[in-house]
Amino acid sequence: MDLTFTPEQQAFRQEVRAWMRAHVPPEPLVTLEREDGYHQHVAWERTLASGNWGMVTWPEAYGGRGLDLIQWLIFEEEYWAAGAPLRANQNGIFLLGPTIMEYGTEAQKARFLMPMARGEVMWAQAWSEPNAGSDMAAITTRAVRDGDHYRISGQKTWSSRASFADWGFGLFRTEEGSKRHHGLSFLLFDLNTPGITRRPIRQLHGDPGFAELFFDEVRVPVANRIADEGAGWNVAMATAGFERGLMLRSPARFQATAARLVTLFRKHEQRLSPVVREQVLAAWMGAQAYAYNTYAVASKIIAGGHIGAEASLNKIFWSELDRAMHRTAMQMLGAWAELKHFDDGSVNAWLEGYIFSLSGPIYAGSNEIQRNIIAERLLGLPR
């Protein structure tokens, strides 16, 4: 065990810090869930790409830097410490990119990865259907083979980024009459293909960002299928594993929240003391623990280890931490909590953050599902 950074790692930290200081927009961007904000965030992805900071963990051949997970954590720490924006490209970086690298053909890698890395093509995910949320194997949207194309008909929902993104990926039932996780294929599709209708879903905060996607005999080339026909479930499980796993939520983001919470507490301390203090201390402790744990898991993976059901422990921890931190901030803000802007005109990011945090225990496998996984797979309780 060695908890010190090498001189190379320290130098790398300085490099990231300097670049971020020079490039992070001085004013917060408009929310990613609105069209104007989305375009601001895409522009930021392209700025990141210009400095080759878009996909730091990807191999250099695909537009990345080939960094290891410890370097990734350092990058993330400096990224969030600089107050840099949310990543519009999250679906690409952590979900689809690694999936194509693992399961794609050379042609698919050549075609899709570079534009993703450069922020030129933005990706939406399309897993869920109205009757397949937590129970993803209940997917019914079908893709019927028709020569060198599939014809897709059906509906996807809760498709993040799909209101504005360029391409989408998801699971479709390619074998007629197949049940549950059999007969599914993993397909990529241009969101502007004829027959696709996007219906933005208005979220809690009033902005879209999610969308429903309606498919009416949409023609998608067979060349856009990742891995074999019928092998979609395994591919998606690997992708979902990335999602639940280490890289979905970097600890730096929560440490930044905890630090903001400390600042908020100090500002209001006279009024708040003593009732909120312990919750603020718990926020710092939780964010630190999550950071340490991520460093520990990263160390294990770098050494060739794997994470399996432990990812469920992670998912529960960060999602409940995030909600608790924002709930605490809402309590501290009192009568200001409901306002979208403070009296100095600044955005009430705590309110937005609280709303966003409520999705944490729901998405990427609800925390109820995660607790089942922990109980059955890690602890060995009977099904």
């Binding site: 809690l204 009192g334 009568a335 109820e368």
Partner: protein
């Protein structure tokens, strides 16, 4: 000692509940949400015709002369229906304050639904529904409203109308107690409505071949919410009774009610959205109207810090007796 509602109270509550279920369902909320501002003269007229503005107005002034117990029961129903019209501030906060302080007031106009009273208190940085008010309570007086209310502040709750309060001087403790008490009552109504929505959704939404309400985890989340809501009820009634009778410890019981109902509402909201899954995160279902009102009212009329601070001062500083012989001190 009889902690039951009277028959009259029970009938009143049922009547208001049925009335609101008829005129103020989720469809109405959606329609109001489309308007700018999200207010409806027709709805106000309906609430007036139901007699809500006159409930607490003295009989001699043409009202029903009801008390604060009735007021919290009605406020609960207004919360359950997520009513955002300024009926609570006018009829359930302003009127009992005017009566208690013997301030001359335009009761006839209130009863007729023509007067609307906005309520300013330094505990809130905003005044709700100031633009539309004919009067405002501020600095211990009832003032005719004049001038421009300014632009509305944007609340997370699309049906709330908040305006800068400006310099409104010191706060009046009774006004704070009344505002907090009615916020608490609405919060409990909101909580109960969110529980009902979550139960209904859980009974209908199928996953893994069964309604999700058949999963024990879902059951237990909802049962915990039911416990919190149940035990906020007598706290609320007891607080209303204490304020009504001018009990020396009334403020403590109001704070207790605000905390119990506010915490129940936040727990109900977080549980209900979890059970609705991604659906609860959208405008596709109605839950969001109730959640947002709960977030707003949880911080309004004194936040957790303020109310815990008041209880702290009484309990830990020893100004209120505690222990088994002091249940109703």
């Amino acid at each position: 000692m009889d902690f039951r509602l009277t028959e009259d109270q029970a009938i009143l509550v049922e009547g208001v509940r049925d009335f609101l279920a008829g005129v103020h369902g989720a469809e109405r909320l959606r329609r109001l949400d489309m308007r700018d501002p999200p207010r409806s003269p027709e709805l106000w007229a309906e609430l007036t015709s139901m007699g809500l503005p006159c409930l607490l107005v003295p009989v001699a002034e043409g009202g029903l002369g009801l008390g604060l117990v009735e007021a919290v029961l009605i406020a609960q129903e207004l919360g359950r229906a997520a009513v955002a019209e300024p009926i609570v501030d006018t009829a359930l906060v302003a009127v009992p304050w005017l009566v208690a302080r013997a301030v001359p007031a335009p009761y006839a106009a209130i009863v007729a639904g023509e007067a609307r009273i906005a309520v300013a208190h330094p505990v809130n940085p905003w005044i709700a529904d100031l633009d539309d008010a004919t009067h405002v309570i501020a600095r211990g007086s009832l003032l005719a409203r004049h001038g421009d209310a300014g632009a509305a502040w944007e609340s997370v709750d699309p049906l709330r109308r908040l305006f800068a309060s400006g310099d409104i001087g010191e706060g009046d403790d009774l006004l704070l107690d009344l505002g907090a008490l009615m916020a608490a009552a609405q919060l409990r109504g909101l909580a109960d409505a969110m529980l009902a929505q979550a139960v209904a959704y859980a009974g209908q939404r199928q996953q893994f071949g069964q309604p999700i309400g058949a999963f024990q985890a879902v059951k237990h989340h909802l049962a915990s919410v039911a416990v919190a809501i149940e035990f906020a009820r007598p706290v609320l009634l007891r607080a209303a009774d204490a304020v009504q009778h001018g009990s020396r410890s009334a403020s403590i019981h109001v704070s207790h009610a605000k905390l119990a109902a506010g915490d129940a509402a936040i727990q109900a909201a977080e549980t209900a959205i979890q059970i609705h899954g991604a659906m609860g995160y959208t405008y596709e279902v109605d839950l969001h109207f109730w959640m947002k009102r709960a977030w707003a009212l949880a911080g309004a009329w004194g936040d957790r810090a303020l109310h815990l601070g008041r209880i702290n001062a009484a309990i830990l500083r020893g100004t209120l007796s505690t222990g088994p012989s002091h249940t109703f001190v």
